[in-house]
Each structure stands twice: as structure tokens, then as C-alpha cells.
Amino acid sequence: MMPLAIAVPADVAELRAAIVSSMNPVRFLAGGTDMLIAGRALPEAGLLIDITRVADMAFISTDGSDICIGAATTVATVASHPGLRARLPALCNAAAQCGSVQIRNRATIGGNIANAAPAADLMPVLTVAGALLRLIGRDGMQSEILLGDYTPAHGLITDVILPGAGLLRRSAFVKLGPREDLAISRLNLALLADFQNGCFGAVRIAAGALSHAPLILSFAEAALSGRKLEAAVLRDFLSTLAAEVDAAIPGRNSQLYKRRAIAGLGLDLIAQALGLSPRDRLFEEAVE
């Protein structure tokens, strides 16, 4: 096989041409914060395409009904974007807790998705937001698929679309790691919800690091949907969270630890989504 070739396309037309014209395997390189970790095999042949120079692949658009994010947008940009914070603060919070400053300055949202790590922090938020991915396949054709259906075999992610209809007014993201900063999640939770007059409307919750991909916690969602914010409801919610852990990782060494930890995380999630203090009396009553 031919030795490794590098392409650094400047725009989508060049990018598509590079993908289509290569007779050899094609790999993509974005921030490199996953691909370049020592010990991981780097491609020795084929075509390596650096997507970080492609015009119009690093942007965040929040003005339309849908939110659209270019796949090469850095995690640092996602963390600090005011328009995104106004509409989906959970995604900014998740991004702000990814790795270190150095990692966030290079890591991209596309890499976070394609990497398919069970603990990837942006994934649970993108899952509850019903994200769609715009792709360019090996044949150069554009397509759109649901986030949950994506595998690297589908090709290059160019955009992440968060349909406006799926964005609820409240959102939150919390994570538990082995230390406060620069920690891969042992468990993370994302929530989108409607909340009015002291009552939850629609609620969507997903957890990371409980399965190979984000897990939708439908029993926990049902424990809150349409119900009043009160200690008894929160107690129900906490017991469904523990049951979700039991069902997801039965017999796993981490089961006991995660079924306890998810209670604290769950209450932090509600507090963040509703702008309450995690020390609010309501939460104390819920765990009594």
C-alpha cells in the first residue's frame, strides 16, 4: 500500500474531493486529543484528512429555530458561546467540564461523538436534545442520521443539529469523576425539561458511563413528568435512578457505588435545571 498521505482541505468541496478520490482507507484527524494519545495506533498508510482547516466546519448558529454546530468546533468554543448558553446551558456546562483548558482548546464536538467513549461528556446532552448529524459518506454524498445511529463507518460528521422542537426550556448536566478537574466521568447525567408553576412538563434524562452509549432513563423521566416538585416526587425519582443503575450494570463492581452516587447527582441535576441551591431544604427532605 502507498505510504500515508495527508490532506488539509480548506473547504467542503476540497474535503469531499479528498474523500471520494482516495482509493485507500481514509481517517479523519480533528483536535487529536483522542487519536494522538500515546500507545494508540496511528495510520501508517491511506489518507489522513485534517479537518480543522475546513472553512464553515467550526461555527455555532443559535439564531434559527434549530441550533447548528460545525463538527470541528472546539469544546472550548462550545463551553463559552453566549447564544448556546441562553438556549442549552447543559451543553456549555458539559463542555466546560471536559478535560483541561489545553484539551478543550483542541478537542472538537465531532471528535467527542466519533470517539464513541462511554463517558464522553457531550453525548448525554446531545442525546436528550435529540441531535441529528449531517454526514459526508465515503461516496461523497451528504446525509442526515440520528445521533444514536452513528458509527464511524457512516463517515465524516460535518454538522450537529439540535432540532428546535426538541429543546426544552430547562437543561442541566452533572458529572462525577475521580477528582474535581480533568476527570473522565465515572457517571454523568443530562436533563432537558419543561417546568411551570411548580410542575414538571416533559422531561428527558440520559446517563453516560452506564453503557457503551448514553442510556435514556425512561423510568426516571416518568417519575418527574407531569408531577409537582415536592419531596415525595423526588424520593420516587431517586429510587427509579437507583433501579436504572441496577438494571444497567447488574453485578458489575461499580454497581453499588454508582447506585448510591446517582442519588446525589440526580438532586444536583434538578437543582441546576431549576436554578435552586443543592442545599435547598427540599432536597434534604427528599433524602430523609
Binding site: 494522538l36 485534517d50 480543522t52 483541561s100 483548558v101 489545553q102 484539551i103 482548546n105 480533568l182
Partner: protein
């Protein structure tokens, strides 16, 4: 392949191997051995450089990705002498073995350029990507605080 970039203010154009890491390029090709390659996993921060003013792990970038960018390493931080930030590290004893220091100083420099007036939490969060196994971090936080005060015109 060819790469052209600016390192510590000097324009450089040279041939490189495609899979050469930026850390390897800076250390082995340009001889800028201030930065260290401690882990090559993004964990230790000893390889931190500023890329267009922002801290990055040079071990997790390929050198060709720096094409057209400006890189600052510890060697380029002070022109003739060490900077106030480096002096602050010395003054409070924030340097022991010194292995982490170049990366730590550049991460702190990046932090102060982005946020001239960080509080303690922001300093700790901003330096979370840099590990020091000697100092216990307290003196490093003090050094960054003290330099921030100087840059605000509040003296040391």
C-alpha cells in the same frame, strides 16, 4: 511535507515527517527542550505551549497542524530576561525539581492573558491540566495571584 509557522517570534519553514508530534518538532528539531514530554497522553501538561495565545498540549498535536500558527514556548516568553510571572514562581518557591515549571508557567500565562484577574478557584481550574508532584500547588497558586496583582498595577 513542508510546514511554515512562527515559533517564539521567528518564522520557520522546514520539511517534517507527517506523524511528527508538535512536542517532538519543538524539542528534537528546533532544540527547544524547555517543554517536557512527561506522559504524551494529555494528562501532565509538561508539554504545554501557547498556540495563538492559548495553552495546548503539544504532545497531542501533529507538527503539520501548527501550519501558519504562532507558537510560544518557555524559551520565547521573556525576551532578554525572565518575566515577572517566572520571577513570581521563584519568589514564592513554586519551583522545586522544575520538571513541570515550563508547562505550568505557560498555562498560567495563557490563563492571565484570557482572564487577567482570576480568583483562586479559577487559577486552580485553569491549571488543572498541569501536574506538579513536588510543590503541592499552593505556592504555584500564590505565584499566579501575585503576578495577577502586579499586572493590575497593585504591586507585589
Amino acid at each position: 511535507m513542508k510546514v511554515s509557522l512562527t515559533v517564539n517570534g521567528s518564522a520557520i519553514e522546514t520539511e517534517i515527517l507527517p506523524l511528527l508530534r508538535l512536542s517532538g518538532f519543538l524539542r528534537d528539531v528546533l532544540g527547544l527542550t524547555g517543554l517536557k514530554e512527561g506522559c504524551c497522553e494529555g494528562e501532565c501538561g509538561a508539554c504545554t505551549v501557547l498556540l495563538d495565545q492559548k495553552p495546548v498540549n503539544s504532545c497531542l498535536m501533529l507538527a503539520f497542524q501548527a501550519q501558519g500558527h504562532e507558537i510560544l514556548t518557555i524559551e520565547g516568553l521573556g525576551k532578554a530576561d525572565i518575566t515577572g510571572l517566572q520571577q513570581a514562581f521563584l519568589d514564592v518557591g513554586a519551583v522545586q525539581c522544575g520538571y513541570c515549571t515550563p508547562g505550568m508557567v505557560l498555562a498560567a500565562e495563557g490563563l492571565l492573558r484570557a482572564n487577567p484577574c482570576p480568583d483562586e478557584g479559577e487559577i486552580r481550574h485553569g491549571l488543572a491540566g498541569n501536574i506538579c508532584r513536588c510543590t503541592g500547588f499552593e505556592t504555584i497558586v500564590q505565584a499566579v495571584f501575585s503576578e495577577s496583582a502586579v499586572r493590575q498595577g497593585m504591586g507585589r
